[in-house]
Amino acid sequence: MTRTSVTQTSKAQTLKTQTSTLPAPMTPTELVTAIGITLTQLDQTLMEPDLVNQPAQWQQIYAMRKHLDDQQRALVAAAIQADDPEFQALTGKIQLAIKQLQKVIDDLKKIDSIVNAIAEVSADLDEILKAAA
């Protein structure tokens, strides 16, 4: 067995294990919608005067919001293979990260958790967009 095929087998196995514990995969349109809902929720947080008055934290979340917005725009224009197992596994991971984000998004005392959850969503989206490029 060559090294490449070992890597491919192990990648496929990892993917299989991940997929079995993840929520059902989404279509590209459902993903665009889920990101839209996340953006709207983030915006509600960014509109809060208490956060606006913490410039560093506000700026950090705003920068992430901006990146997520660019990613949503890129998703609309991306050629995605909806039946690709990697895409499906990533949409499952994104759903988990969004769930995590929703638990903390209203709590301005948990800025770090908010930032971590958005970072996870963005990282998975980057993977999807990289594969579609």
């Binding site: 279509t27 590209p28 665009v32 915006d43 960014l46 606006v52 901006k66 609309v76 050629a79």
Partner: protein
């Protein structure tokens, strides 16, 4: 010698009368069943949907341009025409392709409605001709859009459904235009109509994605406005005129937010498909099942019209009002 043939001047009316009789059989309608109100309502709703869809698509680039300008202004970033133009999400060829797809589906379904209604033969053939012309335009648009530069990758995916839909509709409409028997037309509808479903589905899912972008960009404007307002009031001496200007924009933003929230075209496109399916079911239903099929058609068309009416008003209002610009100094 006796001449059994009818007088010559009546002879040319015989085939027409037979066609009309055949179409009446096909429609299964008796004289006391008047489909006119439901068909008129369907036609009005599909025209309104086509117009709303076109407005939404036309607005898609404007929304992205303005979002970019607002964000750059808010962040004191540089602006250039080329950078703004690079935010486009749809080309004019792609836009025309999608608008024409809705128009072709509307005119095809209208032709089926006229047929089901058992209208006079000339009207049935005229509507079938109009639908054929719409599909012919659509097929040309499909080729143009696929061959030229496109921004939406699924533009390439249109080729299959358009070709299948144009072929399917062409076969059905051709039989109507050539005055074939009702059984032939009915069989052709049964066989070919499912090919149009892919086109409905494609339009529905794409319009959802475009609408989501409109919602996200509009929401971002709120972030900028609220940030500007809350920063200004935190100043030792807030500028009252500026605050007033911002508060007016926040009010406008909130009004637009409500409009955008109700401008999702996907449910109306799904209702459009449902009304079309109900119409086909009515045409294909056995005589005993027709009252129920007609009742289903009436319900579907009403629900379609109920979806389209507010959508049309909201999409129009969203396109004509500014999307609540972020005020920055």
């Amino acid at each position: 010698m006796t001449n059994a043939q009818p007088p010559r001047r009546y002879r040319r009316f015989v085939p027409l009368a037979l066609v009309a009789f055949g179409l009446a059989l096909l429609s299964g309608c008796s004289l006391d069943q008047d489909y006119t109100p439901v068909v008129t309502q369907f036609q009005q709703a599909s025209n309104a949907l086509a117009q709303s869809f076109q407005t939404l698509l036309t607005n898609a680039n404007t929304v992205e341009y303005e979002h970019y300008i607002d964000s750059q202004t808010f962040e004191h970033g540089r602006l250039s025409p080329a950078q703004i133009d690079s935010r486009a999400v749809i080309t004019s060829d792609e836009l025309k392709l999608r608008s024409d797809a809705v128009l072709a589906l509307a005119s095809y379904t209208t032709a089926l409605a006229t047929l089901a209604q058992g209208k006079e033969e000339a009207q049935i053939v005229a509507d079938a001709n109009a639908a054929s012309a719409s599909f012919s335009t659509l097929a040309t648009d499909g080729q143009t859009a696929a061959a030229s530069h496109h921004l939406i990758p699924s533009t390439a995916d249109y080729a299959g459904p358009i070709s299948a839909a144009a072929g399917a509709a062409g076969e059905i409409l051709g039989l109507i235009e050539r005055h074939r028997t009702h059984e032939e037309i009915r069989r052709s509808i049964e066989k070919n109509d499912p090919a149009l479903a892919a086109l409905f589905n494609l339009l529905g899912s794409e319009s959802k994605a475009i609408y989501e972008r409109q919602k996200s960009t509009q929401s971002a404007q709120g972030v900028m406005l609220f940030a500007d307002y809350n920063r200004e009031i935190a100043q030792p001496l807030p500028d009252k005129d500026y605050l007033l200007q911002l508060s007016n924009r926040i009010k406008q933003f909130r009004r637009n937010q409500a409009l955008v929230a109700n401008s999702d075209p996907a449910p109306a496109i799904a209702s459009f498909k449902k009304a079309h399916d109900a119409l086909v079911a009515l045409i294909l239903a056995p005589k005993t099942g027709r009252p129920q099929s007609l009742a289903e058609l009436v319900t579907s068309v009403r629900s379609f019209a109920a979806e389209v009416q507010p959508l049309s008003a909201n999409v129009q209002a969203t396109a004509t009002t500014a999307n609540g610009k972020a005020a920055t100094r």
